[in-house]
């Protein structure tokens, strides 16, 4: 599978990473190499194989539906780059 510049731009947008246009071609080459290498998986017959969903056989635990945490607003906000009172601040999203 070969990836072109337009595909790099598309997945960069999906991943929310700005990739400058002059870097797209080089990145397309690198990603194509990696995807070309993983292409060898297509030679394995997996028609009757179930995909792995859990690496160890464990039952997902259940617990009472009760609050076990909370009252830690200051802790949650402590590392934020910008706050206002008890809010995270982001650039304006509604015009």
């Amino acid at each position: 599978m070969s990836i072109d510049k337009a595909t790099v731009a598309k997945i960069a947008r999906l991943a929310r990473i700005h990739v400058a246009e002059e870097k797209q071609a080089a990145l397309a080459g690198e990603l194509s190499n990696i995807l070309g290498w993983v292409e060898q998986l297509s030679e394995v017959d997996t028609d009757d194989v179930a995909p792995m969903t859990s690496v160890v056989e464990v039952r997902l635990p259940e617990r009472e539906d009760v609050i076990t945490d909370g009252d830690c607003r200051d802790d949650i906000l402590a590392n934020a780059p910008e706050t206002d009172g008890s809010f995270f601040v982001v650039p304006k999203v509604v015009e």
Binding site: A15, R16, V19, T46, V56
Partner: protein
């Protein structure tokens, strides 16, 4: 170097118990050693004041007869573990000066047992790498040098700082994390013991996530006995990690000396890969002979899907990483790059904050999960992962442990392979299969390469049978009698 820094964890514990030394003396010696190894760039954050406070408290506990299993023993923590009130960066600019408001479960277990924290170690950014070159703090350096070559060598990765600091005798032990080999490969490169327990044995709570179905905490130590001591404290059920297994933690130290008479040791044909260096193959053969000489039964086995493990890993791990790392958006914590529009702020923050390898993996992950490609890549990889796990299940009907080399080469120079992602990925060819199958595995130093650098042997065990694995590793360690020291450490 002080003689106190030469001790194993077990020997230091005995001296503390007998009252020959105090935790404060032991900690002061290690703080001095950490300062002395600064040129190796093994620490991101040193915490000497906290270490001395913890040591003083430890001495008081011991005086009161309340000492825990690791009381007063100075160790280092990979910078992927959240430590309350102590900066935790995952070696990434995007976390900036993140100060966790909570403690990871594994480190909490260590502090409850009385261990002393020397600081937070260097690593590949978000644990993505096999060289420790991909760190926002610059590469960590291996204390070993190749004979007749003064170039700096990588310690392997991603737990490179943890491996180097233990090998350089500046911490008695360290924590690492292993997603595809990130404990075992650096242990092999630095001549120490590194263990990845079974997936679910240690809680992942508070460990910054890379690939959640693969990540597992484990110890880096200077001998197998120390690995048993550390794992016994690190392991255990944690309701906060739903994949952590609610099963008793055995006394790993007690099982170490059971011997390997009658133990069935599997030798997988598929690990004899093309272009395997002769010295790696010779080391492997020596390991087989050592086990046979101690009464183990050597059994040829087949793990037919081995060659597909690495490409499978490089779909599954980036896919999970792209999802896990979506949380770094410049809003809740860490770096924010200024921009008027929200989406531009996200994109610029992530472009500025993530290093090149992390970006590469996020993009691969986003691609293999994207509409139209999910079945061809991610689903396919998860199916092959089932086949790889089935290979091991079938093999473990016939054998108790599997013996292989740890890495396909000895340590390489800083700068090598940096521009060739696939060459870098091939470092983990022997360690990734056990990761995909969730199995416990351990690397121990077993010999020197032609260049005078350590080489590791690798044992893989049955799920949650770390006790047998450690016992087999102990027997191998006794046979190998590895006593070489890196040049920077004068005996």
């Amino acid at each position: 170097m002080s003689v106190l820094t030469e001790l194993t964890l077990g020997a230091a514990r005995r001296q503390l118990e007998k009252g020959d030394i105090s935790a404060t003396e032991l900690t002061e010696a290690h703080i001095a050693a950490v300062e002395a190894v600064r040129p190796l760039n093994v620490m991101i954050t040193e915490t000497p004041e906290r270490a001395l406070q913890m040591a003083k408290a430890s001495d008081e506990r011991r005086a009161n007869g309340e000492a825990g299993a690791l009381d007063g023993l100075p160790i280092a923590i990979k910078d992927l573990y959240c430590t309350k009130g102590v900066r935790t960066t995952a070696a990434s600019n995007i976390l900036g000066n993140f100060i966790p408001p909570y403690e990871s479960k594994v480190t909490e277990n260590l502090w409850k047992a009385g261990a002393v924290m020397l600081g937070k170690t260097n690593m590949d950014e978000f644990a993505m790498g096999s060289s420790n070159m991909f760190s926002a703090n610059g590469p960590a350096i291996n204390p070993w040098r190749r004979d007749g070559d003064d170039r700096d060598l990588v310690p392997g990765g991603s737990s490179g700082g943890s491996a180097s600091i233990v090998a350089a005798r500046a911490a008695l032990a360290a924590t690492g994390t292993d997603t595809g080999g990130s404990i075992r490969q650096p242990a092999a490169f630095t001549g120490i013991v590194g263990m990845k327990p079974t997936y679910g044995r240690c809680s992942r709570w508070g460990i910054i996530a890379f690939a959640s179905s693969l990540d597992q905490a484990g110890p880096l130590t200077r001998c197998v006995t120390d690995a048993a001591i550390m794992l016994g404290v690190m392991a255990g059920h944690d309701p906060k990690d739903s994949t952590s297994v609610d099963a008793p933690v055995p006394d790993y130290e007690a099982a170490l000396h059971d011997g390997v008479k009658g133990l069935r040791v599997g030798i997988p044909a598929e690990y004899r890969v093309d272009n395997m260096p002769g010295e790696i193959d010779a080391l492997w053969r020596r390991g087989i002979a050592w086990m046979a000489a101690r009464g183990a039964e050597i059994v040829d086995i087949s793990l037919p899907h081995t060659k597909y493990a690495l490409p499978t890993y490089y779909i599954v791990a980036p896919a999970e990483a792209s999802s896990n790392l979506a949380r770094y958006d410049g809003v809740k914590y860490g770096l924010r790059s200024r921009h008027d529009k929200l989406i531009d702020m996200y994109e610029q923050t992530r472009a500025d904050g993530f290093g090149a390898e992390v970006q590469r993996r996020i993009l691969i992950g986003a691609y293999v999960l994207s509409a139209g490609y999910y079945d061809a890549y991610y689903l396919k990889a998860q199916k092959i992962r089932t086949l790889i796990a089935d290979d091991f299940r079938a093999a473990f009907d016939k054998v108790d442990v599997v013996l292989t080399p740890t890495a396909p080469s000895d340590a390489f120079a800083v700068g090598d392979k940096a521009d060739d992602p696939i060459a870098m990925y091939l470092n983990d060819v022997f360690t990734v299969p056990a990761s995909l199958a969730g199995l416990p595995a351990i690397s121990l130093p077993a010999g020197l390469s032609g260049g005078g650098l350590p080489l590791g042997l690798h044992l893989i065990g049955k799920p949650f049978d770390e006790a047998t694995l450690l016992c087999a590793a102990y027997a191998l360690e006794q046979a190998a009698g590895f006593e070489a020291l890196p040049g920077s450490v004068t005996p």
